[in-house]
């Protein structure tokens, strides 16, 4: 399972793989490195990232991991969590 931490900011949100996920990917895919290490989705005004539609969540994971959708499914899917409270914002499990 790929875990993405989400921090809400005034005009959007910043997304990044949790340290545990980075470690897991480094062990599963030799040579893999966390670059980019974050993705910032912004809007010029206060914006609620929870209103994002499904494909955007997956696109963020594709950017952060540089894996294919199939590889992501093989790893068990994704979950988006707050890094401190661990509140889950979005989940997509492997079929």
């Amino acid at each position: 399972m790929i875990e993405v931490s989400v921090t809400k900011q005034l005009n959007g949100a910043v997304f990044g793989l949790t340290p545990e996920t980075q470690i897991m990917l480094q062990s599963r895919f030799p040579g893999w490195s966390p670059a980019p290490d974050s993705v910032f989705i912004s809007y010029g005004r206060p914006w609620d990232f929870e209103s994002m539609k499904d494909p955007m969540w997956i696109q963020i994971v594709l950017l952060l991991t540089r894996l294919t959708e199939q590889q992501i499914q093989e790893l068990g899917g994704v979950t988006f969590v707050h890094p401190v409270s661990h509140e889950v914002f979005f989940e997509s499990h492997a079929a």
Binding site: S5, T7, G16, P19, I23, P34, D37, F40, P83, V84
Partner: protein
């Protein structure tokens, strides 16, 4: 060390780090209301902005070298923001300032989670650096790559 002395040492460390940024040609700014030790580092021409959290400690002498201990908020360490936070750990030894240990928030979170760097006390991560001339370790991890690593802010000639 008294709380008041801590405030003086912390402010001195912040100013030592600000001085280094200015010498490198980067502008610095402090929040008007100081509720932490954040410095905003700005490239004048482009407005590129970095957030820097300065942590300061007075070194304690060891048989060889010295050690310095720092506290980092775990919530802050785990929370990603744009612009990303960089920690500058300023060590004041008997010989003066340095080394400065410069670690990105994500790098430090990884060092903690994957290599067990630091120890947790309540809501903080406690880091103890052991420093010698060509040696810098934290929880037995080699931190030499972070020693005086100002490379995020290349020197700007005005």
């Amino acid at each position: 060390m008294s709380q008041k002395q801590n405030l003086y040492v912390g402010r001195a460390g912040q100013m030592a780090v600000m001085a280094e940024f200015l010498l490198r040609g980067w502008n610095v700014a402090l929040p008007e209301v100081d509720i932490g030790e954040d410095i905003f580092v700005v490239k004048d021409e482009t407005g590129d902005l970095s957030r820097v959290q300065v942590k300061t400690a007075t070194a304690k002498p060891l048989q060889t070298g010295h050690s310095a201990q720092f506290n980092v908020s775990l919530d802050q360490l785990l929370t990603r923001r744009v612009p990303e936070l960089v920690y500058v750990f300023a060590i004041r030894s008997f010989a003066g300032w340095g080394p400065f240990v410069i670690v990105g928030r994500n790098e430090l979170a990884l060092e903690h989670r994957s290599h067990g760097v630091g120890s947790i006390s309540r809501d903080d991560l406690i880091l103890r650096f052991n420093v010698q001339d060509s040696y810098l370790r934290c929880s037995d991890r080699d931190f030499l790559p972070y020693r005086n690593d100002w490379s995020r802010w290349p020197v700007i000639r005005h």
